[in-house]
């Protein structure tokens, strides 16, 4: 079987195993939906200046997408990692031709499909339920690589957390500890001006920041353009995409290395 065949086999098995866990599937899609309903519909936004949710509704679309792009791969790959370790599946796979990166790539593919579907759902819900203005055009197709690269990046991080944590409980706790700060400190729901000036450069260390900025350049008409350099939002988005791609490769490689060859 070719490398492609091995990856396809691992992906099929991973997808079937996931799709047959009904509660896992339900909550994977329910989680972002409830976030949109709570913050987009119930809380709403008050563009009157100052405080949380003070921006127009369209500003927060990257945040809603970030919820699934960040949380789902972290928890899914992390817990899958723990399941594999507890069931000696890595020990078994180490004696098959499947390579470590192939395993992670296969599970990343599954996550890209699952999270891609969840992202479409969020996008549709936000458009339908929240009063957002989105500039429609071909540039929106760039959302696909943003989601795919974001998922790959956090699948890699999920594998790293899975390696560091010694149980499924540990993976969940570690995922939450990493994901929550990232979610709120990556220009998603909290605008930079709400943070202390000394902290703002630190948000550049979060990979999610580049996802949020890029998606915002593509979807939010009132986006502020940095002074100097390019002024075209799509060009600015492509720069963010490039940074995200580099970070994704780094996290994926480290994540693949974290997949155990030995016990």
């Amino acid at each position: 079987m070719s490398r492609l065949g091995r990856i396809a086999s691992e992906s099929r098995a991973g997808a079937k195993a996931f799709l047959r866990r009904r509660t896992a599937v339900f909550f994977t899609f329910f989680f972002p939906v409830i976030i949109v309903l709570i913050f987009g519909v119930l809380v709403g936004t008050q563009p009157t200046g100052g405080g949380l949710f003070a921006e127009p509704p369209g500003y927060y679309l990257p945040g809603y997408l970030a919820v699934v792009v960040l949380f789902t791969p972290l928890s899914r790959v992390g817990s899958e990692f723990a399941r594999h370790r507890e069931g000696s599946r890595f020990e078994k796979l180490a004696t098959t031709p499947l390579r470590r990166w192939e395993w992670l790539f296969a599970h990343t593919l599954v996550n890209v499909l699952v999270i891609g579907a969840a992202s479409l759902l969020i996008f549709g819900l936000v458009v339908a339920l929240v009063d957002v203005q989105i500039a429609v055009g071909a540039h929106l197709l760039l959302l696909v690589p943003f989601v795919a690269l974001g998922v790959a990046l956090f699948c890699g991080l999920g594998a790293i957390l899975g390696r560091l944590a010694d149980s499924q409980d540990g993976v969940i706790a570690a995922s939450n500890s990493v994901a929550l700060p990232l979610l709120f400190l990556s220009e998603t729901f909290v605008t930079p001006d709400l943070l202390p000036a000394w902290f703002r450069p630190i948000t550049n260390l979060s990979p999610l920041t580049y996802f949020a900025r890029g998606v915002r350049y593509l979807t939010y008409e009132q986006v502020s353009i940095p002074v100097g350099g390019a002024t075209d939002p799509t060009t600015l988005a492509l720069f963010q995409l490039g940074v995200l791609a580099v970070l994704s490769v780094v996290f994926f490689v480290v994540g693949a290395y974290a997949v155990p060859r030995t016990d």
Partner: protein
């Protein structure tokens, strides 16, 4: 005074029956190697030299050397915690260790993966795939693989092929796991306690399967804490205690060297004095006489001696030394194999000189 030998049907789970090594009588013809004589590396599928594995301060495998001739079954026995699983990991390259390991002539991590099969001890595949899907999933990881249906048939799961793994019984799950290790038709198969949780029928089916595999040339490295399993299947046996190999050889040679003699225990109130003139060495204890050194062909002679001496008896039992006796002799402690739950296939058995496996009633 006629007595009938009531040998019980062979039940590997019966502590009593385990004292009668009927299993060894059923062994097929194979090339056997003398004890403690390692074959050359050229003939060996697996060679370990001075292999040591430590977890922190704990030495799990301590300077182990062994050689597994190609096409044979090598049985590694020892109680829980003896280091069996750690040694399997060393041999398959799924853990780091010191010392030298050669698997099919290569380092374990460099060997062609399609040539080896591993069933880890606590292996649990994706639980919501059917057995057919599971076998297909693992088969598709290899360039060439066996037909899934034929493997299903071999492990006796044709009828459960479309059942999710999690809905199988414990024994069926273990058989599915064995099937997974067979999909690539490996040259060397590592089975770490393969029959744990399998019912007696399933165990015997699996034993037959292992015998068939070795008849076709597959080398099997089998770990078990079931002495009867190893006695039946293994050409060579290594006993592991506290990470060290304490004995190695054919089951028969180990038993002959360390197991003591076979015995006939007679329930009677009679004194041993009345047998003083016989050729048997007889010891008396409360309510019983023990004839030492009575092999199966001499039971009738012993019974005749009882009759000649006019000794009335209630029953007698015959016991043959087993690998458990060898373990007791070499370590000074009883063999404790299985977990306390006593799941099928796992016996918490200790050598019991007074066990009554093959009872004869008057």
């Amino acid at each position: 005074m006629n007595a009938t030998l009531l040998r019980p049907a062979y039940d590997p789970f019966s502590l009593a029956a385990s004292a009668v090594s009927v299993g060894s009588l059923a062994r097929r013809e194979r090339t056997l190697y003398p004890p403690s004589q390692h074959t050359s590396t050229m003939d060996a599928a697996v060679v370990a030299e001075n292999v040591t594995k430590q977890y922190g301060d704990t030495v799990a495998v301590d300077d182990v050397s062994l050689s597994v001739p190609a096409g044979t079954v090598f049985g590694l026995i020892g109680p829980n915690g003896a280091g069996k699983t750690s040694l399997v990991r060393c041999l398959t390259g799924t853990t780091d260790s010191t010392g030298e390991v050669s698997l099919l002539g290569s380092e374990p991590t460099h060997v062609e993966r399609a040539r080896i099969g591993l069933l880890p001890q606590s292996f649990s595949p994706p639980e919501r795939l059917t057995v057919r899907e599971l076998l297909g999933y693992y088969a598709n990881l290899y360039d060439e693989a066996r037909d899934v249906d034929s493997v299903l048939s071999e492990v006796g799961l044709d009828d459960a092929a479309d059942t999710w793994y999690e809905e199988l019984s414990g024994g069926q799950q273990r058989r599915a796991c064995v099937g997974i290790t067979l999909v690539n038709d490996p040259d060397v198969l590592f089975l770490d306690e393969p029959t744990t949780g399998i019912d007696p029928t399933g165990r015997r089916d699996l034993w037959t399967l292992i015998e068939d595999l070795t008849a076709e040339g597959t080398t099997v490295f089998l770990t078990s804490h079931s002495m009867d399993e190893v006695e039946r299947l293994a050409d060579q046996v290594a006993m592991l205690a506290d990470g060290r190999v304490i004995a190695e050889g054919t089951p028969g040679a180990l038993v002959a060297e360390h197991g003591g003699d076979s015995r006939l225990v007679v329930r009677t109130e009679a004194s041993a004095d009345r047998l003083a003139d016989t050729e048997f060495r007889v010891e008396a204890s409360a309510g019983r006489l023990t004839f030492h050194g009575v092999d199966a062909t001499r039971i009738d002679d012993a019974v005749d001696a009882l009759t000649t001496a006019g000794i009335e008896y209630e029953s007698f039992t015959w016991t043959e030394p087993t690998l458990e006796d060898v373990y007791l002799e070499l370590t000074g402690r009883a063999f404790r194999g299985g977990p306390a739950s006593g799941s099928a296939g796992e016996q918490a058995s200790a050598p019991q000189p007074d066990a009554e496996p093959a009872e004869v009633e008057r």
